[in-house]
């Protein structure tokens, strides 16, 4: 506050009339909010002008994250539940498949099939854990489809195992729930939307090119869906949960788009 030694003759007695400000308090706050939005937008433009590192500020990050969430919704609308991904002849199958994880292939910790169990949680009626033998006894189907990585590479793979929709029906899962989420032996985790989980080409794979999946590719059980990017296919699965809660995923929590449909 600036204090003048003697009150100005122009200053009204009893201070400035504040009634107009009080009357429009809501409006003034509203304008500030709009200003904030405008600020966020011009911040994006500013990046281009200065070339400095504005792209990592919280405001920009939060706008980008919102748009990524909006893109999840758009992809949900674009998803065609019964449209099959292109399939390929056996002669095009790449053996072995291409390895990728959040660590190098030397750091793989193989899973012991004898003690391995698949746990079930959430909106599932029969949550009894499954052994590898029980999983192997389920009816199998095979898909030869393209695997596309978010990085940009791809290969044709031949995967077989139980259809996820049939498995979820068998254990009495609530198919109206929003998400199916996965936990893995290597602390990787991920979740997919129910519509993609119920797609005909989404399976719990146990075999590659008719042989049991080898250690680097998710032995004994991994997800293989033809309608999502590679990182949406968790390997070495140890638990499946059917839920209405958003569980994110390892890469998704680091900024990659959650839906990541192809």
């Amino acid at each position: 506050m600036i204090k003048t030694p003697s009150p100005s003759i122009f200053r009204p007695e009893g201070g400035i009339d504040q009634s107009a400000l009080k009357e429009h308090k809501a409006l003034v706050e509203d304008i500030n909010r709009r200003g904030l939005l405008r600020g966020a937008v011009s911040l994006g433009a500013l990046t281009m002008l200065t070339g400095c590192n504005v792209t990592h500020t919280d405001a920009v990050q939060s706008v980008l994250k919102r748009i990524s969430q909006f893109n999840d919704k758009v992809q949900e609308l674009m998803f065609r539940p019964n449209h099959l991904a292109p399939t390929f002849p056996e002669s095009m199958v790449v053996k072995p498949p291409r390895f990728n994880a959040y660590y190098d292939i030397e750091d793989i910790a193989p899973v012991d099939a004898a003690s391995w169990k698949l746990e079930l949680a959430g909106k599932i009626e029969n949550r009894k854990p499954w052994t590898a033998q029980e999983i192997y006894a389920l009816p199998e189907e095979e898909w030869i489809v393209r695997h596309i990585c978010v990085e940009g590479w791809d290969y044709i793979g031949q995967w077989s195992g139980v259809n996820l929709k049939q498995f979820l029906q068998r254990v009495g899962a609530d198919l109206t729930a929003k998400y199916v989420s996965f936990k893995c032996a290597d602390d990787y985790y991920g979740s997919i939307d129910m519509a993609s989980a119920l797609h005909p080409q989404t399976i719990l794979a146990t075999k590659y090119a008719r042989e049991p999946i080898t250690d680097p590719f998710g032995f004994p059980l991994r997800l293989r869906t033809a309608t999502k990017l590679g990182f949406k296919n968790p390997k070495w699965i140890t638990a499946i949960e059917v839920t209405n809660e958003y569980r994110g995923g390892y890469w998704e929590d680091r900024g990659f788009n959650w839906f990541s449909g192809i």
Binding site: V63, K65, I67, N257
Partner: protein, 196 residues
């Protein structure tokens, strides 16, 4: 519209380079980090899939406006090969006139039509890379997944080439810069509405 497109295009190109760097098509070509936007693939993808809305919505408005008002027909057609050759010949002899900047010469017409087509194909190949399964019918047009990536890359290269020529020529004829910002000189009604 032009400047929204310019901003969106620069964001798309610079973030696209970072995405490309994650799995290069040509072993000899990596884009220097300082030229890219996003910091890493995850950030670059966020920028790419945000700026695409700006590019597509603005581009659609531009196409609808250009077709509905007859602006494309008036300003960009017809293009005669002989005129294009004559324009190029004049340009090489530094005899090209720029007195009326509201009127495109034949080489300009050809380039502007070309870049509109390239950007439309670029959006389509982008969809093919993004949704090779949901839009498998479209993706088939570009061959394999890597085919779509290659077309998307070539589209980027053509747009960059256009950008360099476009900016260089605009700088050579400085009065066009003012027009690009203000919307150009006022033309009388007869000229504007009078077909070509």
């Amino acid at each position: 519209m032009h400047w929204i497109n310019a901003l969106a295009m620069i964001l798309m190109i610079a973030s696209g380079w970072e995405i490309y760097n994650d799995e290069v098509i040509f072993g000899w070509l990596h884009f220097p980090h300082w030229m890219t936007i996003g910091g890493g693939a995850e950030g670059a993808l966020q920028w790419h899939f945000a700026a695409m809305w700006l590019l597509m919505i603005n581009g659609l408005c531009y196409l609808i406006y250009g077709l509905a008002t007859g602006r494309f027909r008036r300003k960009l057609l017809p293009v005669w090969p002989s005129e294009v050759l004559a324009t190029v010949r004049d340009a090489l002899r530094f005899k090209l006139g720029h007195d009326d900047i509201t009127h495109y010469n034949a080489a300009q017409k050809l380039l502007y039509i070309g870049i509109i087509v390239v950007i439309v194909v670029q959006v389509l190949s982008g969809f093919a890379v993004w949704k090779p399964v949901q839009l498998s019918e479209l993706a088939t047009l570009f061959g394999s997944f890597q085919g779509s990536r290659l077309v998307h890359f070539i589209g980027m290269a053509l747009i960059c080439g256009f950008l360099i020529v476009h900016v260089a020529l605009a700088l050579l004829v400085p009065k066009t810069i003012g027009a690009m910002i203000t919307g150009g000189p006022v033309v009388d009604g007869a000229h504007q509405g009078g077909g070509r």
